[in-house]
Symmetry: C2
Subunit: 243 residues, 2 copies
């Protein structure tokens, strides 16, 4: 099925955090797409939990976020984005362009998993407070090796495309995700990110440009943008940042 | 670009492990596709490392596996599979079928990350031997909560499709990946997996059926199938398995 610009979208995601849902919110907002953030509506959490138990015949999603548009119910952040981006005008039309964008998005999602694991290295069944020393160790390697490797790769992507966006002159959903991951890392690891700023100049410029896109700027200034907090993926625990 | 059945594929992946490359190998083997496992050829590692440094104008892949077919150079395991599966006859043709298959594949890949992190909870920059107590803690939660949650979801997918395959009567690349992840977990956590066997009967039946598919059976019996070992994702460290 091909959603059209007039289609409406129902996003299902935890209502108190940016989390993975934010990558989808940013795409819908930037495109000015009509959507409902279901779990933030009255009774919305109930609807989301019901769909996770029983998707009506088909397989219920493994986890939020998931999106309903027309008859399609689709999960997995990068998959949702790959499916809606053509109708939102946020990716090139050729199969090659879409595959390349998806490849970069999946690599960003890998970084997101690693960012989460800095405060949950022993797993999600324990509180952060119960895995603080391990979080420090994991974060040290993350800050020293993984952030530079990932952001350095995005920096090279910008150099290869000629910019200002990751795939050239036109913004894509992957640029919005790159902005989000930089914003998240700035929130969680402000000292480390400040030190690295010079080596990611193109990525910094990209982030600023994304934040100034009119609809995205309006979204970021609105109450729809949930502030970063210590329940999400990117958490400000100063003890995990570099000294 | 649309690869045809006659197209040849060059797979680039670490030559000593199954790892993420194995999900691609299984699809190519099951389809009888002509491919070269480049890094296992003489001078192949050199070629792979060169491509990671300089992909000839475009962005070099972040990490193996990556695949070259025609003019396309594509990375990220699930992305590679989504792109080649239609030509290999290993996924339904509709956009909906492809999106649904990709969603399940991405969820399997999430499980693969978690399986890897059981022996590297503090990160890849330390040896397993330097993070053994933490690996035990992470593995306990993985075995108790995460394996059942993930495999239980695949079991429900099989119930929803009616089987014998995840999407019904026809095998897809996702079935091959499900086989691989069950095989890997059997290798790494034999005791835990034996205990769970009854609750994943459909998935067990699927795995056996996949292993008996003629080309896959021939592959599994060949020297092209690298044995599981303690350098890959799924490692047999008895101390991490349940008692």
């Amino acid at each position: 099925m091909k959603p059209t610009r007039r289609a409406s979208y129902e996003l299902f995601y935890w209502p108190m955090i940016q989390g993975r849902g934010e990558f989808v919110r940013l795409a819908l907002e930037d495109a000015g797409a009509p959507y409902v953030d279901v779990a933030r509506e009255p009774d919305g959490m109930k609807r989301m939990m019901a769909l996770m138990k029983d998707a009506g015949g088909g397989l219920a999603p493994f986890a939020p976020p998931f999106l309903r548009t027309g008859k399609l119910l689709v999960a997995q952040t990068a998959n949702i984005l790959a499916i809606v981006a053509p109708a939102l005008g946020l990716v090139g039309k050729s199969e090659g362009a879409r595959a390349y964008a998806h490849q970069v998005q999946l690599t960003i999602m890998d970084l997101v998993v690693e960012a989460h694991d800095t405060h949950h290295p022993l797993g999600g069944s324990l509180y952060y407070e119960d895995q603080k020393p391990e979080s420090k160790q994991r974060s040290a390697g993350f800050v020293k090796e993984r952030i530079p490797k990932h952001l350095g790769w995005l920096e090279r992507a910008l150099a290869a495309s000629g910019g200002p966006y990751l795939f050239g002159r036109k913004a894509s959903y992957v640029d919005l995700s790159a902005f989000q991951v930089v914003a998240g890392l700035d929130y969680a690891f402000p000292r480390a990110m400040k030190r690295m700023t010079r080596s990611i100049r193109r990525l910094r410029a990209l982030s600023e440009r994304v934040a100034e896109r009119p609809r995205t700027a309006a979204y970021l200034a609105s109450s729809r943008r949930i502030p970063f907090n210590e329940h999400g993926i990117f958490r400000r625990y100063p003890e995990l940042d570099e000294a």
